[in-house]
Amino acid sequence: MSIRRYLVLILLSIITLVTFLAAIQGYKASMEQANNLFDEQLQIMGKTLLATSAIYNENTLRRSLDETTVVPSKHIAYQLFNNKKLLLRTDNAPKKSITQLSSGFTELNFLGQRWRVFIESSSIDQPHHIHKKVIVAQPIKERFSLAEQVILSAVTPIILVIPLIALFISMAIRHALKPLTVLRRELSEKKINDLSKLSSETTKTELQPVIHTLNQLFERLSSAFSRERYFASDAAHELRTPLSVLKINVHNLHITQRDKLDSQGQASLVQLAQSVDRMAHVVDQILTLNRTNPDQLTMEVTKLPLKVLLQQVISDLYPEIIKHQHDISLESQVTTLYANEFALLTLVKNLIGNACKYTPNGGHILVKTEVDEQSFTLIVEDSGPGIEESEYGRVFDRFYRVGGDSHQSTVVGCGLGLAIVQHIAKLHSAKIILAKSEQLNGLKISVNFPKKTMGENT
């Protein structure tokens, strides 16, 4: 549940609950007040009636009130007795006395209704024949409905205004949470490897430290990442220069001392040169493996002319190929492929390099491409010994070499080539398939690039 929804719901519930409680309390209190007020009215009316009747002297009273007078009334009923003789009544009051009580308030039923009744009698010290009693009654239902009308018209607006309050609260909360919404959107749209600062700015004191801390974190992360990335190139420089020195000195030694050395010395020199080459290769492969690591490589995908790229790699590797007296051929139509240039060059270089290294001298290497609707496949076949099917799964492990330590020591390698190839294939969502070459009897390695995802990447 979002904070906004939670706040709106909880605030509305509280407001509704409190309003109703207040309304009920107000209703109760108002009702009591109204009751007192009505009682007071009854009392005043009774007393007034009694007092008015006393003004008249006995004769007048007898004459004018000789016959029971009926006063039309809708609401309040009353009876006026003199010595238990009915003098005056309203038309909604019975002829008989409603109650035997002589004074005070009571509630009783007559004529199918419940009434609030006030009784008052003239004092006993009056002459005997003029003992007067007045009974005033008001229907309780009426008192209620009157009171209710008044109270409801006071309470109703408060209840009616609740939806309006809801609207305002919702708007206020939405406005107050806007910086948070903006931040949320920016964070969710941020790419996983985008470590740039957040552009959201806020004046809200609660959010400022959050954004500040996040930005600091991003900054530290990105500097850590770039340190890691630069570590590779720093290491490259640190290792490559001394390796160059080694190579040059071996070369110089070979040139200047060749004739002075005996056969053993010469053999040592060749060994030295080979070891230096091997070291250079291992360093190069480790750095490449690092650089093509999917976490490290920032993939810049471009449209690459595939045939030209393959020609370039074969040309680059040609001195090595000719050293092994291999025959290499390329069968490729002109195609373009969306890929990272460095990664694809490295992949092709490793595949052809492997074929060249592991095929006995004077072998055949075939590089070809196959294009269909959905995918594009790069295939390298050789006439070498191939790889046992049981080893297919393991050759991609780092530092794994077919045959383990008994590997031909003359072959320069470190067991990283196919691990690198796999990294790069993964980066391009490509599949690697190992098989036996039917044409050349050696290894056939195919890298299948999906066309669709490649195009979409751009």
């Binding site: 190139s233 490559r240 160059s244 020195v245 190579k247 040059i248 040139i255 001195p319």
Partner: protein, 219 residues
Amino acid sequence: MRILLVEDDMPLALGLQQSLRHEGFVVNHVDNGKSAISALSVPDQDLVILDLGLPDIDGIEVLKRTRDRNLTIPVIILTARDSLEDKVKGLDFGADDYLVKPFEISELLARLRVIERRLGTAKSALIICSDVSIDTAAHKVSIKDEEIGTSKKEYMVLKALMENAGRIQSREQIESRLYEWGEEVASNAVEVHIHNLRKKLPEKFIQTVRGVGYTVNKR
């Protein structure tokens, strides 16, 4: 040929100087960018071998300032930076070649010789591959010291191949060499010239790398 070697790593500089001097080059060595720029203000160098990771000014900056002053002196970049961007940047700023450490000294020498011939400062104008030699000064081709006749275009094709002996030249690369000479090139021109050259040259001298191009072996 006089070479200015700009390299801050002393052991590497010493080793390189020894190799280059042994090959008959005159080498001047400086170990920082400022000295390189001031050395280049006097026109007594024929070529620069430039390391990019210099202690004071970056090698690319040295290259840029050199080119800004309209100096056309050939520059070979020698560096530990092997990313494609670095390479493209180096070549864009006008480097003639780009070698990544650790490099094969023979590769460096081959590239130096190509530039040397281009500058016309080579002691010998001869390029020799096994029995075949071409005299780049006289534009003549000989087999075992016996001169054979070639057309101008055939000579260009052969020169391109022999200058890059041991490496593959694609049809497009050879074509672009012919274009440089302002020739109209028909679509199958290279194939025709190669075919004609093969008839005149020893068997298997020019080899075809199917799908890639042509090559001539070094020895």
